[in-house]
């Protein structure tokens, strides 16, 4: 039977590695394709080159989880077909086109597990494209992967658990953090106390980050409305409003983000049906508790299936593999399934609390100025997009793209589509879901024109 079962796992983060492990334990040899040079995903990203840092330095309180995951991946390394630094740029039916080392080739699969993760959700404001502005995730990658900080005087801004985690990691690494600017009011954080009974570890850890930042004299501001980042060739300062007053702080780098957004292009190309997720304020692939999508043989796990964090990703990756095995006729351990599903359900309940504690800045869309750049790839301003929405009655993202080029450039809307949907909702007073979602087109990321074709592409 196992000869006919040839699963492809896209992504080697917590979900992808746990999915691979479960398949290996059942005697299968999955293909694992990952864009990074080594396993771990974004959260447990490994150093590019060895240095003196310990796992504790790199991953803080999550060091043991990171180490366990890396060790697991090393252990199954020769029991899987592993393609690092490889981009899956297209999925069609039961084959994937992958770009590897300047060549493209086709990988055929019997089952597909998408563990494509997430990237920062950002909204634009004045100065967001000045050199020295990074996403929170980008700031974290610089630190983890290359051991460098994004600046000498860094301001972290936004909303979401990552805001405090990254600030704390920078401080721990010896970088100078000028301030943490939280767009949510302090009162929102009190909701976290409701999560204490179910997820005490997570809540206490978060509180510790904030307490340690404050103890070191790092200013933490709440209820911040970002106005602009100043500077020409480089960030020189940031201006915000707080309780009606304008405030300014000198800095040379800004890391910002507003929680995460799922990477869903491959699920779209695979033909998965999407549903609107109110909590994520985004369309995501429809899935059952086990990670089955609407397409037979296609599974989804981790943050690419809706934002739930790394712990959930590990559980979901394993759960998706058990579903795959069951669907392929293997016996699976029902008790293990129950444990995984209980764990996932608990985390899902906690996510609701987190969303209240770290809310999206929902006043942003109405207040952002017309001359702010919305789509940086195609250089389209908020005002140009609003004009098309009003004058040409554009109500939907694909139409907005066709008429204004928003989301048409290098990033294919991965950066700007969230913000564009928020503006559509604001301009027309329509629910966010009415904006729809951009139809994915291959290649999901740019590929070189001269790429050599190894085999028949899908």
């Amino acid at each position: 039977m196992s000869n006919a079962v040839r699963p492809l796992i896209v992504g080697a983060g917590p979900a992808g590695i746990r999915a691979a492990q479960a398949l290996v334990e059942a005697g299968l040899k999955p293909i694992v394709v990952d864009e990074a040079a080594s396993g771990g995903g974004q959260i447990y990203r490994q150093r590019l080159a060895p240095d003196k840092r310990t796992p504790r330095d790199l991953y803080g309180s999550e060091a043991s989880k990171a180490t366990a995951l890396h060790e697991t991946f090393a252990r199954i390394r020769d029991k899987i077909e592993y393609f690092p630094q490889t981009l899956v740029w297209n999925v069609r039916g039961t084959s994937a086109d992958v770009a590897i080392d300047g060549r493209t080739r086709r990988l055929d699969f019997s089952h597909l597990i998408l563990a494509t993760g997430a990237t920062d959700r950002i909204v634009p404001f004045h100065g967001w494209t000045i050199p020295g502005v990074f996403t929170l995730g980008g700031a974290q990658i610089a630190l983890k992967s290359q051991g460098c900080a994004i600046g000498e005087q860094v301001v972290f801004l936004g909303s979401g658990p990552l805001l405090y985690l990254v600030a704390w990691q920078y401080v721990k690494a010896g970088a100078r953090v000028a301030a943490v600017l939280d767009t949510a009011p302090f009162s929102a954080k009190l909701n976290l106390l409701r999560g204490l009974p179910s997820q005490p570890g997570v809540v206490l850890r978060g509180m510790r980050y904030v307490a340690e930042l404050m103890a070191r004299g790092i200013p933490v501001h709440f209820g911040v409305e970002p106005d602009r980042i100043e500077g020409e060739a480089r960030v020189e300062g940031i201006v915000w409003r707080e309780r009606g007053k304008e405030r300014r702080l000198a800095c040379d780098a800004v890391g910002y983000g507003f929680a995460l957004r799922s990477e869903t292009q491959l699920a779209d190309l695979a033909g998965c049906r999407f549903v609107f997720d109110e909590r994520d304020r985004a369309w995501r692939p429809e899935r059952d508790m086990a990670g089955r999508t609407s397409v037979s043989g296609v599974y989804i796990a981790g943050d690419g299936a809706g934002i739930a964090g790394a712990d959930a990703a590990e559980l979901a990756g394993e759960r998706a593999s058990l579903a795959l095995l069951e669907d392929a006729g293997y016996a699976v351990n029902r008790e293990r399934v129950a444990v995984l599903e209980r764990g996932l359900a608990g985390i899902q309940r906690f996510r609701d609390i987190l969303e209240i504690a770290f809310p999206f800045p929902d006043k942003w869309a109405a207040s952002v100025a017309d001359d702010v750049l919305l789509c940086r790839c195609e250089e389209i301003s908020v005002g140009q997009a609003r004009a098309a929405m009003r004058e040409q009655e554009v109500r939907e993202l694909n139409r907005l793209k066709a008429l204004t080029r928003v989301g048409m450039g290098r990033c294919q809307g991965r950066i700007c589509a969230c913000a564009a949907a928020e503006i559509l909702a604001d301009v027309h007073g329509q629910p966010l879901e009415a904006a729809g979602r951009l139809r994915a087109q291959p290649p999901i990321k740019p590929i070189p024109l001269g790429i050599a074709a190894d085999g028949e592409a899908a």
Binding site: W89, N90, R92, D97, T104, R106, G271, E378, Q392, R399, A402, L403, M408, G409, R410, Q412, R439, Q441, P442, P443, P446, I447, P448, L449, G450, I451, A453, E456, A457, A458
Partner: protein, 391 residues
């Protein structure tokens, strides 16, 4: 919702043909409803390559093409935007002596039709178009041709029609149309009923079912030309490029992106949409990298494809129905409709007003497929790969 609209003309299909007809009819004073099952210009009219090209068309299309040619530079006054129309010239390259001979023969055949073709030899080509790789035998240049942005042009024609007073109903598929004593009766998905004196069938790749409903089956098939677009690079491509014998066509926009086509995609499970094949897209990319050295180190950022109606003889159907009075067809542009569509819109309006057009369209009669002497009119050269898509 249920309501009934009474109009002089109902147009099925809000692509470039239907929209430009709606605009022309409004300017003549007719009341018009323009119906589209989705957004106007979202299918082939909006996602085609964007070639504004007379060169290479069969001689019987040239009069119509010349009529459209006069409209393109006036887009700003006609629809309010220039549609990024550029008169860059259209350079059709020959990679073999045989292809060059074919270009020469075409130039001779259309010599009296006013295209102003200029045959360019190898050495001159190297001198004037040094950005094309060296192994080209020669080319034919049509200086007056160019390219434009279909996404903008198609939507702008529909918007201009609306501003001129046409009822533009998007997301309004026509579920039933029939001839009644006082004209036509159309039923639509959202429950709007329409009574009209005239019906124009400009439904592109979906037009065959409407023609068939009036007893006029046509040999229409669907094609899915696919395109790639590169990241922006320094502007080097000074002309819209085609190739005799097909295989590649390319243009560069002001912003620097190069749009390259030459292969076919395939339909999605949702048949209203199509997508390129991975292998087809890579083939186009490789051909572009080989033909244009400036692109060798650039990246493709997006592929796409569109759904277009193609007739067996690759000429469109334009003109009155042979079975039903006041029914007018205009579809099946077979991957070469973008340039002529604004001219077709004017012709359709003339047919409604005068019962005839001052531009010859006999070659496009719908009954040519049922007549005994069927087949393509003399002189037409099928060039599937070189044509862009649009209706």
């Amino acid at each position: 919702m249920s309501r009934t609209l009474h109009k002089d003309v109902a147009i099925i299909g809000g692509g470039l043909v239907g929209s430009s007809a709606a605009l022309a009819l409004r300017r003549m004073g007719f009341s018009v409803v323009l119906l589209d099952k989705g957004y106007c210009g979202a299918q082939a009219s909006g996602v085609n390559y964007g070639g504004v090209r007379r060169q290479g068309r069969p001689p019987e299309q040239i009069a119509l093409s010349q009529r459209a040619h006069a409209i393109w530079p006036r887009l700003k006054e006609v629809i309010g935007i220039d549609g990024e129309f550029v008169r860059s010239g259209h350079l059709k390259i020959a990679r073999t002596e045989a292809e060059m001979a074919s270009l020469e023969a075409y130039a001779a055949r259309v010599a009296d039709l006013g295209l102003g073709l200029e045959l360019v030899g190898h050495n001159q080509l190297r001198e004037r178009f040094p950005w094309i790789a060296g192994n080209i035998v020669g080319a034919s240049l049509c200086q007056g041709d160019g390219h434009a942005n279909p996404r903008l042009v198609s939507a702008a024609f529909a918007l201009a029609a609306r501003r001129a007073g046409a009822d533009v109903l998007e997301h309004t598929p026509v579920s039933h149309v029939e001839k009644v004593p006082e004209g036509f009766h159309l039923s639509t998905g959202p429950g709007i009923e329409i009574k009209a004196q005239f019906v124009i069938n400009s439904a592109g790749a979906w037009a065959d079912s409407f023609a068939e409903a009036f007893g006029e089956p046509v040999p229409l098939s669907r094609i899915y030309p696919s395109m790639i677009v590169t990241e922006p690079v320094s502007v080097f491509m000074s002309a819209n490029i085609g190739a005799e014998g097909g295989g590649i066509y390319a243009r560069q926009v002001d912003r620097g992106n190069c749009i390259v086509g030459g292969m076919r995609g395939e339909p999605n499970t949702d048949l209203d949409f199509s997508r390129p094949t991975g292998s087809g897209a890579v083939t186009i990319m490789n051909r572009a990298a080989a033909l244009f050295p400036a692109l060798r180190n650039s990246y493709a950022i997006r592929f796409w494809s569109g759904t277009e109606g193609e007739m067996a003889d690759r000429n469109p159907v334009i003109g009155f129905s042979r079975t039903t009075p006041n029914l007018i067809h205009a579809f099946g542009f077979s991957g070469a409709g973008f340039q002529i569509a604004p001219g077709v819109g004017e012709v359709l309006a003339e047919l409604v007003r005068d019962g005839a057009s001052r531009t010859p369209i006999e070659a496009f009669a719908i009954d040519r497929f049922s007549r005994k002497d069927q087949g393509s009119p003399a002189g037409s050269t099928p060039e599937p790969q070189e044509r862009d898509i649009s209706k």
